[in-house]
């Protein structure tokens, strides 16, 4: 098997005295979409922040294409080909849509390729091309999510970290955004690490998945295997099982504890 593009080993991260990531190890292979599922506060965002260099890990290693990047500054990580599309969009509200998109390429200098990528981004998100001169803060939530992804693409990433792209969007928009995510993965060969609470859509696009709970990885399997797992079904997919007596089981035990 090929070496993973991203390899995280025994990572630990703290907010002051609070240990938010408690020894996480995972791998993302070339061309894959790997999803990390977990409830609120599980530490998914913290994991991505640590991987992208916005937070410094207390322990552990992160290898990007075999090169250690733990402890590197965020801009160095972007230069090495990994970009983080943050939770809650985090656009630059007073700049125009076009300026936001262009800032995605801040670390790059290859003008001709940047121009081609700009066209590529606008072809995936025609609404952004249409609204180029509008202030980004005036876009709708879904459009802002598209902007955040488009801006991230402008860094020409080999690996894209996506934090809850479905957050606050209508089912129809979630569908639309995930279709684009799948296309970007297939057509532009962008490897992705996708954090989601919406386990259904995430497992549908993903090849492999991890389940996180209070800072730890508690399950890891291929996406179809996770989708059919009883635990994931009941805790993340909202599938309710009927017992023999025809009552809903109201007390469940997770098999991983």
């Amino acid at each position: 098997m090929t070496e993973p593009v991203l390899k995280v080993d025994n990572l630990e991260s703290y907010y002051g005295p609070i240990m938010a990531i408690r020894g996480v190890s995972l791998e993302v292979r070339q061309g894959q979409i790997v999803t990390v599922l977990g409830a609120n506060g599980a530490g998914k965002t913290t994991l991505l922040k640590t991987v992208s260099g916005v937070m410094t890990p207390a322990k552990g290693t992160i290898l990007l294409n075999g090169e250690p990047i733990h402890g590197a500054e965020a801009d160095a990580v972007v230069r090495k080909g990994m970009v983080h599309v943050p939770e809650g969009r985090e656009i630059f509200p007073l700049l125009s849509v076009g300026e936001n998109v262009a800032l995605g390429a801040y670390v790059r200098t290859d003008k001709a390729q940047i121009a081609r990528d700009l066209e590529m981004v606008y072809s995936y998100f025609p609404i952004l091309a249409e609204r180029q001169n509008q202030r980004a803060g005036t876009l709708s939530g879904g459009q802002q999510q598209m902007l955040a992804i488009g801006r991230g693409l402008m860094a020409a990433p080999k690996v894209m970290l996506l934090d809850e792209p479905s957050l606050g969007l209508s089912p129809l928009l979630v569908e639309e955004i995930f279709t684009i995510i799948r296309r970007l993965n297939k057509e532009q060969q962008v490897t992705m690490m996708l954090v989601e609470q919406n386990a259904k859509v995430a497992l549908d696009v993903a090849d492999y998945g991890y389940v996180m709970e209070i800072g730890r990885i508690v399950m890891a399997d291929t996406a179809p295997a996770l989708e059919s797992s009883k635990d994931v079904q009941s805790f993340y997919l909202g599938v309710q099982e009927e017992t023999q007596r025809g009552q809903r089981r109201w007390k469940q035990r997770k098999t991983w504890r």
Binding site: A74, D75, P86, E90, I91, P93, L94, L103, Y106
Partner: protein, 291 residues
């Protein structure tokens, strides 16, 4: 005195206030720190230029002295951020405020120790010359002040809206975290903003000292410029300039029409009125800060 001349001298003063206010706002927007030494930066920049170019001192050509002084003040701002302010990251805003106030004292003391406390003026090519527009006779230095301010404003406008670095500065001030995510080196950008604050202060100082005398305590007029920044909305660059012009224009007219003593209150009275009736300032860009 002729009303028109009052107007022109008020306008020239207002330009200087406006440029100092611009420095306040630049640094505040990018780093959320208020540099209470901005007025003293202005004074220090003026003295460096005087020291470089006046015949009593080094006597270097004015047109060389000016960019050198701008460069020195820019380097000063940059190093101040790298060496001290960056290390205070995570401390309360009050700590930074107190630090900049202390820095103001140090600059005033240093200027007094090096260049003495007597008022001095800059030997500029504009000093003492006149421009005639028909009936009207204007001091060339006042015209130059207005002209340079317009030019600098235009240059800054182009820089912030057209250059990659300028847009990245705006981005970092609007959403610091997102700037990190995009690989914008936020810390270096903040240092560069401090450098820009130093350069703008040097220009303000050069303008001030070429139209009148300056002494080490002149930097205290930074407080008036602070009022100007508040009037303009403290987040808006054009607002800061216009706030400065308002104060500069109100002062001479208040002195002309009001009993002595009241005129000095005028800038702060306007600031209070603005705070009461338009708490966000006259030119605030309304944007709710995300929690």
């Amino acid at each position: 005195m002729d009303l028109l001349q009052l107007f022109i001298s008020g306008l020239a003063n207002g330009c200087v206030y406006g440029l100092i206010a611009l420095g306040f706002v630049l640094i505040y927007k990018a780093t959320e720190a208020v540099n209470f030494a901005q007025g003293d930066f202005m004074m220090f920049g003026a003295f460096i230029t005087i020291w470089l170019t006046n015949t009593d001192y080094l006597g270097i050509n004015f047109w060389i002295a000016v960019p050198v002084a701008m460069l020195i003040m820019g380097a000063f701002g940059y190093l101040l951020d790298v060496a001290i302010l960056r290390k205070m990251f995570g401390q309360s805003q009050i700590a930074v405020v107190i630090l900049t106030i202390a820095l103001g004292f140090i600059l005033r003391f240093a200027a007094g120790a090096i260049w003495a406390h007597e008022p001095q003026s800059l030997e500029s090519p504009f000093a003492g010359r006149e421009v005639r527009l028909g009936e009207l006779v204007l001091g060339l230095e006042e015209v130059a002040v207005v002209f340079v301010t317009i030019l600098l404003t235009f240059a800054l406008y182009l820089f912030f809206n057209r250059s990659k670095l300028g847009i990245a500065m705006q981005a970092a001030s609007q959403n610091q975290l997102a700037a990190y995510y995009m690989g914008i080196p936020v810390k270096r950008i903040q240092s560069l903003v401090w450098a820009l604050g130093g350069v703008v202060a040097a220009v303000a100082g050069i303008l001030f000292a070429s139209k009148g005398a300056i002494d080490p305590s002149t930097g205290l007029l930074g407080i008036k410029a602070f009022a100007a920044a508040v009037i303009g909305g403290f987040g808006s660059l054009p607002g800061a300039l216009i706030g400065g012009l308002i104060i500069g224009l109100v002062e001479p007219f208040a002195a002309y029409g009001l009993p002595a003593g009241y005129s000095q209150i005028a800038p702060y009275a306007i600031m209070l009125l603005v705070l009461i009736f338009r708490p966000a300032g006259l030119f605030s860009t309304t944007q709710k800060k995300k929690v």
